[in-house]
Symmetry: C2
Subunit: 218 residues, 2 copies
DNA sequence: ATTTTATCGATAAAAAATTATCGAATAGGC
DNA sequence: GCCTATTCGATAATTTTTTATCGATAAAAT
């Protein structure tokens, strides 16, 4: 049912901005606005209007209308569809410590198409408990359960020393995508997707910008 | 004491990769290796060797040596200096819930030059407690304390509804950089640096890559 | 001492991403 | 019904980022 257009020509940069548009559009929807222009989005989100237009046209089914802009509800649906927010992907969470609990406790992932079905922890004391309504299993059941549940996404929230081992186990269980919160580079086969949530990198960028700003003032 | 070279010509993309190099180099240092080549780094981190060389030469004081590569210890020191890992910046954390506690509990930020000196929470029950060794203050003292402590960095880990208000208060207190973990776009003056930790965006990129991989297999 | 080889830095080429420009379309006011 | 102002989409120009190429250099091997 051909929507081949979609899969092509959508850059990583664009994909990275789509969630921000999505949030913005939902605000507008809640405020009762029917349409929104790329100009307005760009201004509010501090982006370039052409860029917004390009991003949106890459995933929108309906073209924008001159003088009015885009239909808010349609755009939301388009992004939902494109990013898969409308059908849940199962995931497992490894590490039920501080960060793991925080991630489990944040219910919002469901809105982003992510459904955490089980958690794991190496500490036997944590097995059998629950975090954010998700059952915690002992780490040695990881690969087996992942395989049984047919889960394709693993979230790593363990100390850095343990991260590579966890990744190996996840992959052994059949996981194909890893969201890594541990501050280490993971070594994985080519056909496994890894996204590092590198807080140090974010922080580096922030503090460089801060330095620039302070610098430009004196 | 001229190192003007540094501040120029170091792209955001490069800055974003430096922390990964830093971690890698520390591993090598721990393993007792004195030198490392861009080729080796590139291979292990799955990057392009020219890119690595360019990134490193942008911040390195000593040039690499043919046939040997770069001096591990020197490079680490260079990155430390460039990213400010060697002198701590004070920050406050707003939101002592799940995510806030997790961030406070992660002691590692000190290694990245960030020193969290106080936390705040709107819930009076949390005021007076500690998270990860950091005192929690009532939210209404935010601006005053930030100003008194002369803190320039604020970390927002509150529910999205509260985030804009917190940002405003932080700025009122004199904060100049905001690390925002709430899934909203913050509206701030131009001379304030904001870095959004947009997990939805990361997730979007990860799941698109996953989809690609699965797609390429069938 | 000479040759080989791995690596560097510099420069050039290619690719990707952002931004500018402009004619066409149309909603809303006159 | 006709202007006017706003927005769109398409195309082009620009900028940024990544990757390729190549001569020079120095460690290691012969």
């Amino acid at each position: 049912m051909g929507n081949e257009k979609e899969l092509l020509n959508v850059s990583k940069a664009t994909i990275g901005r789509l969630p921000a548009y999505h949030r913005y559009l939902q605000e507008k929807l809640a405020a009762g606005e029917k349409t929104v222009s790329s100009t307005a989005i760009a201004e509010d989100l501090h982006l370039n209007a052409v860029q917004v237009r390009k991003d949106l046209s890459a995933i929108a089914r309906e073209a924008g209308k001159p003088k009015l802009g885009f239909a808010v509800a349609d755009l939301i649906a388009d992004i939902d569809r494109f990013l898969g927010y409308d059908n849940l992907n199962d995931a497992v969470l490894v590490g039920a410590g501080g960060l793991g609990s925080a991630l489990a406790g944040y219910g919002g992932f469901k809105n982003y198409g992510l459904n955490i079905v089980a958690a794991f922890d190496a500490d036997p004391a944590r097995a059998g408990t629950e975090i954010g309504g998700i059952k915690v299993f002992p780490a040695d059941e990881l690969a087996r359960l992942v395989r049984r549940l047919n889960v394709l996404i693993g979230i790593i929230a363990v100390p850095k020393e343990a991260a590579q081992g966890v990744a190996d186990e996840l992959i052994r269980g059949g996981v194909r995508a890893i969201w890594n919160f541990a501050p280490v580079h993971l070594n994985v086969p080519e056909n496994i997707a890894v996204k590092n949530e590198d807080m140090a990198a974010s922080l580096a960028i922030l503090s460089k910008r801060l330095a620039e700003i302070l610098n430009s003032e004196k």
